[in-house]
């Protein structure tokens, strides 16, 4: 599970997260929605410490880290171990261009955990199979389509056997034709019991896949509730205004 309490983050004089509380039970899926700049990415990055919170606490599984401005940060090794427990998928894929597809997927186990390559390889292959790319193991990322790249990135994150998967607009950089294949993988994962936090602009997808939806604006969670209720019948005027923009046809179809 994931639990965020009183999370605060500022960049210089910009208050980006103003005290966020969020809980995702084990096996649950929460979608974060909200306008650009509301702090969704920063929240995900704070959950796996790519950005260091200024205050509050972050819990992933049975490990919790507390932050306040005065306390010294945990050592690099400890931060890295904490990050290893959360898998992250980025809008821009961020595959390692100097490694083949299979080496990308093996990189977590081999580099981080020190697993032998011949042990890591079959596991990586079965993950590639799971995202429908077993045939691409020896290829280089540059030769893949965006949808394939993102599926490799998902397999790479899964190879660390994370307690939670964080998706930051995983389909926003994709050709609309390729969105479906990636959403399908994410949906299968979430339905298969992977604890999931996903930032998305695909409202229909959020409604179908997430148990709960949190609407963020200006660094606060304005509304949080069951997915169907928040998307279809939001309580807060701000949520309603935001969702209004999506009913003009931008609401993307759910995955096939």
């Amino acid at each position: 599970m994931v639990a965020v309490r009183g999370l605060r983050k500022r960049f210089g004089r910009l208050d980006v997260l103003k005290g966020i509380d969020l809980r995702v039970p084990r096996g649950g899926a929460v979608a974060l929605i909200g306008p650009s700049g509301s702090g969704k990415s920063t929240l995900l990055r704070c959950i796996n410490l790519l950005d260091t919170p200024d205050a509050g606490s972050v819990r992933v599984g049975d490990r919790r880290l507390d932050f306040d401005g005065r306390r010294r940060l945990p050592p690099d090794r400890e931060m890295a171990a904490f990050r290893a427990r959360a898998g992250m998928v980025f809008q821009g894929f961020n595959l390692f261009p100097h490694m083949s597809v299979i080496d990308n997927v093996m990189s977590g186990p081999v580099v981080v955990k020190g697993v032998k390559r011949d042990v890591a390889r079959p596991m990586a292959l079965s993950l590639l199979d799971r995202v429908g790319l077993a045939g691409k193991a020896g290829d280089h990322p540059a030769s893949l389509s965006g949808g394939q790249k993102q599926r490799v990135a998902i397999a790479r994150a899964l190879a660390m056997e994370p307690e939670v998967m964080l998706f930051d607009e995983a389909t926003s950089a994709l050709d609309p034709k390729l969105v479906g294949e990636v959403l399908a993988v994410i949906r299968d994962l979430a339905r298969g019991g992977m604890t999931t936090v996903l930032v998305t602009h695909e409202m229909a997808f959020a409604r179908d896949v997430a148990d709960r939806v949190a609407f963020m604006r200006d660094g606060v969670v304005v509304e949080e509730g069951p997915a169907r209720q928040v998307i279809e019948d939001p309580r807060e005027p701000a949520t309603r205004t935001f969702l209004g923009h999506f009913h003009g046809g931008r609401s993307a179809p759910a995955a096939p």
Partner: protein
């Protein structure tokens, strides 16, 4: 004006010339390796170290980048021993100077190469749980090195040319041996032509290599 070219006499000086080539190539190799290491320390200190580490490293680097290497060479040979109270042989002074001088430039090449790696690559490695050292070794440096190779080769070419300055401290490099042979034979035209041809013969393959590496499409290794 007529001049009788005669390169034949150079054969009897082949031993001296060989020693000169060995010194020139040896100094280049030694000061390139030491310079690269110094550059790596400066670059990594600036990128990964604490802020208080960066300032002295930058200061050292700028001193070496902004003064002529010949001035550095004579300063380190004559002035540094007085300041720190140790005798320096000409060869030692030459190695120190050329390594630090090269290091100042290698540092910028290395830093530029590392900075050129996309932030998303750092994010991806860190998100997997890599420590700083593993991230550098497995993700950042392999990508940075590929961009750094052409400028590193270019800097090494300059490094080899700069070794000719050590002749001013009577280190027997190729140029110094040429001067010796000239004073024994009074045939500077042949001697310095030979010296230039030897430098050229060593460097031409290197410049071609640098060009090859620059035009090669960024190949991705497994």
């Amino acid at each position: 004006m007529h001049y009788e070219w005669d390169f034949g006499f150079l054969w009897q000086y082949r031993g001296l010339i060989g020693i000169g080539i060995a010194y020139t190539v040896g100094f280049t190799l030694l000061t390139s390796v030491l310079g690269f290491l110094a550059g790596a320390v400066i670059a990594l200190g600036r990128i990964a170290g604490r802020p208080w580490m960066a300032a002295p490293l930058v200061a050292l680097m700028e001193v070496f980048r902004c003064t002529p290497v010949l001035v550095q060479l004579v300063w380190i040979y004559y002035a540094l021993p007085v300041l720190v109270g140790v005798e320096l042989s000409p060869a030692a002074a030459a190695v120190i100077t050329l390594s630090l001088y090269g290091g100042a430039f290698y540092a910028e090449i290395i830093r530029g190469g590392i900075r050129g790696v996309e932030p998303g690559q750092w994010d991806a490695g860190r998100a997997l749980g890599m420590t700083r050292a593993k991230l550098m070794r497995s993700v950042v440096l392999p990508q940075a090195l590929r961009r750094m190779v052409p400028p590193l080769v270019n800097q090494t070419i300059l490094q080899l040319k700069n070794t000719s300055l050590v002749s001013t401290l009577a280190v027997p490099d190729l140029l110094y041996q040429g001067q010796l042979i000239t004073s024994a034979t009074y045939r500077p035209l042949e001697v310095y032509t030979m010296v230039a041809v030897v430098y050229f013969a060593i460097l031409l393959p290197l410049t071609q290599l640098a060009r090859l590496l620059e035009t090669r499409p960024s190949r991705v290794a497994a």
